[in-house]
Symmetry: C2
DNA sequence: AAGGTTTCCGAAAACGTTTCCGAAACAAAA
DNA sequence: TTTTGTTTCGGAAACGTTTTCGGAAACCTT
């Protein structure tokens, strides 16, 4: 079965190709009757303009690409949905790719997107410091990009981020106020800015309350990592009075191990997570966590991108910092 | 900044456009030295073939589209990752879209994908009976498609599904064996085949054990729906001895309400869910659930699709049924 | 009736490739 | 030497659009 092209329509109606094109593009220089006639018979024939050809000549696609490092956790999907909401509204289609936390596939993803001539990109980096040269080139070549969540400072692009410092501060403060003086921080991947900021917030809270800085333990964003760290603590008999984890996943993994070893939460050890996962309010005890405005992140990223696309060129990158909330639950409540 | 085209490369080397093209396409009729020379200087100039133009002429893209109804739950993301694994391997890029459970956006997604000339589609339907005419047309026009998870019978395409009947049967049987005689089934959306099959399995187990068929309550795949149903049961004083839910979400939502009303699980009421969510093993009590081989689903779907693409035309649609597992946990344990 | 505008449309170039066809150039065979 | 074959390459058409340019017709204006 062959595709029906603009030529078929033109031939059928004995008009020129350009006239048909005009009908489909709302050009001013066409009589309304002929336009309607063309539209009608085109519809009947089942003709739809081929966007590939259109892209080739127009150099735009009405497609937006979103690249995320993973999406088995609900965080990124929720962000994507937020972005999609407003992009669909504006007539854009949203293409999603996931990099599996590998900067190499991330790079390939970007290539595919660019090759497909997306009009803009929304990206959350998988790792830092790997692709930034490529991104710099891309930005130089005027590709509209906005980064979110996982960003790197020295990239001249719009960013929408979360105030990790502030909320890590609040989360730690919450534990300090409850009387905890021996808090361990499970950090995130070292190379992520967001990890650094959460760590800084953790320290800052200690300083404010004139408490000696708490210990930090390296730990990635997974339950397994949290569990492993917890086990080590128990074996080394270095169990703190509270744990502030840089992610809900690691917090939950650790909680599980402590529970299995007979520790009572929050009596024996208190927990605070970060970046509210779906699990947080359903596990027992419910996990105190900092929740990020996922949907909002997606929406502002999308709006920023659209703005940039429309003003093309004369656009100065903005960084938008969004606010969160500390959901206090049982896992950190004083008894 | 303008794109570097094949012409630029050709001009620079004083060769023709076709020669450059040949160099990039491993054609036989080109001398190896010139080929290497071209490849080298093209690399230096930063030239990469424009896939849009290539698609236009070749009518293929090396892109595969995957469309899912949602991805805030881990199920679909995991399937996608399975598919992506094997597709990337074969040199395909994977474009993902999500329909938000709306058949209309699903339809638009399909259009976008087709317009972008994907070489094949992997789809999980959002609702049945809405788009099937469109899909029939698409299949007629030789677009390779494989459906998974949410499928509709009378579509002549490959499918990879889960044996919902069998595992609903086992899940119910598990409850019956534990002595429960008053089991309520929270069904999924009525129009989905998988809901129907799970319901049939539920009934079949009853019949095998010569127990009067249990009650069914309509309930969609969300925690809220489960909670609402649970509340009604409590208010109407129609609390059964066990609940078999068609999804973990509804099970968990219901569990929460029952716990809040002082019911002890599994003593007062037992629970079994379906389609193992990440929550299942982390809530308290841990939820017994049927787990699906998500990664495997994605992989077989991808393989089926590739096979279909390669054998083009002379391909007979297959339906592959995958196996699962019943993870028995506290929520359904006899005391 | 002449001139000037406006409205509508067709021809053709362009976007960046691939591919078909044929032509050099050269070697091998007669 | 001529013929045949092989290798390597260039020219040009094609993919399906959009867009520029120009021209014909129709409509006004004096």
């Amino acid at each position: 079965m062959k595709h029906i092209t603009i030529k078929d329509v033109a031939r059928k109606l004995n008009v020129s190709v350009s006239t048909v094109s005009r009908a489909f593009n709302d050009k001013y220089d066409i009589r309304t009757e002929t336009k309607e006639l063309i539209l009608k018979t085109a519809e009947e024939m089942g003709y739809r303009p081929n966007p590939i050809a259109r892209k080739l000549i127009q150099q735009r696609s009405l497609n937006i690409g979103i690249i995320v490092p993973e999406f088995v956790n609900s965080f990124f999907p929720e962000v994507i949905m937020g972005a999609q909401e407003i992009l669909l509204e504006k007539g854009y289609q949203v293409l999603i790719m996931q990099s599996n936390e590998s900067w190499e596939t991330e790079f390939n993803n970007v290539k595919t997107m660019v090759d497909n001539m997306v009009d803009g990109l929304i990206i959350s980096l998988s790792c830092e410091n790997q692709n930034i040269e490529n991104y710099k080139k891309l930005i130089d070549s005027d590709m509209p990009i906005v980064f979110f969540n996982r960003v790197v400072e020295d990239l001249p692009a719009s960013k929408v981020v979360f105030d990790d410092f502030k909320w890590a501060f609040f989360a730690t403060e919450h534990l300090l106020v409850q009387g905890h003086r021996d808090i361990v921080h499970l950090t995130g991947p070292k190379n992520l800015t967001l990890s650094k900021n959460r760590l800084k917030g953790f320290d800052a809270a200690h300083r404010k309350y004139k408490v000696p800085l708490g210990r930090k333990v390296a730990c990635s964003f997974s339950m397994e990592a949290g569990a492993k760290v917890a086990l080590e603590m128990i074996e080394n008999k270095e169990v703190p009075s509270a744990i502030f984890a840089a992610s809900d996943q690691s917090a939950i993994g650790a909680m599980k191990v402590f529970k299995e070893h007979g520790y009572e939460i929050p009596k024996d050890i208190a927990f605070v997570g970060f970046s509210e996962s779906r699990l947080a309010e359903h596990i027992v005890p419910a996990l105190t966590s900092v929740s990020q405005p996922t949907r909002d992140i997606g929406q502002t990223a999308a709006n920023l991108l659209l703005e940039q696309i429309e003003t093309k060129g004369l656009f100065v990158p903005q960084t938008i910092v969004l606010n969160g909330r500390l959901n206090v639950r049982e896992s950190s409540m004083k008894i």
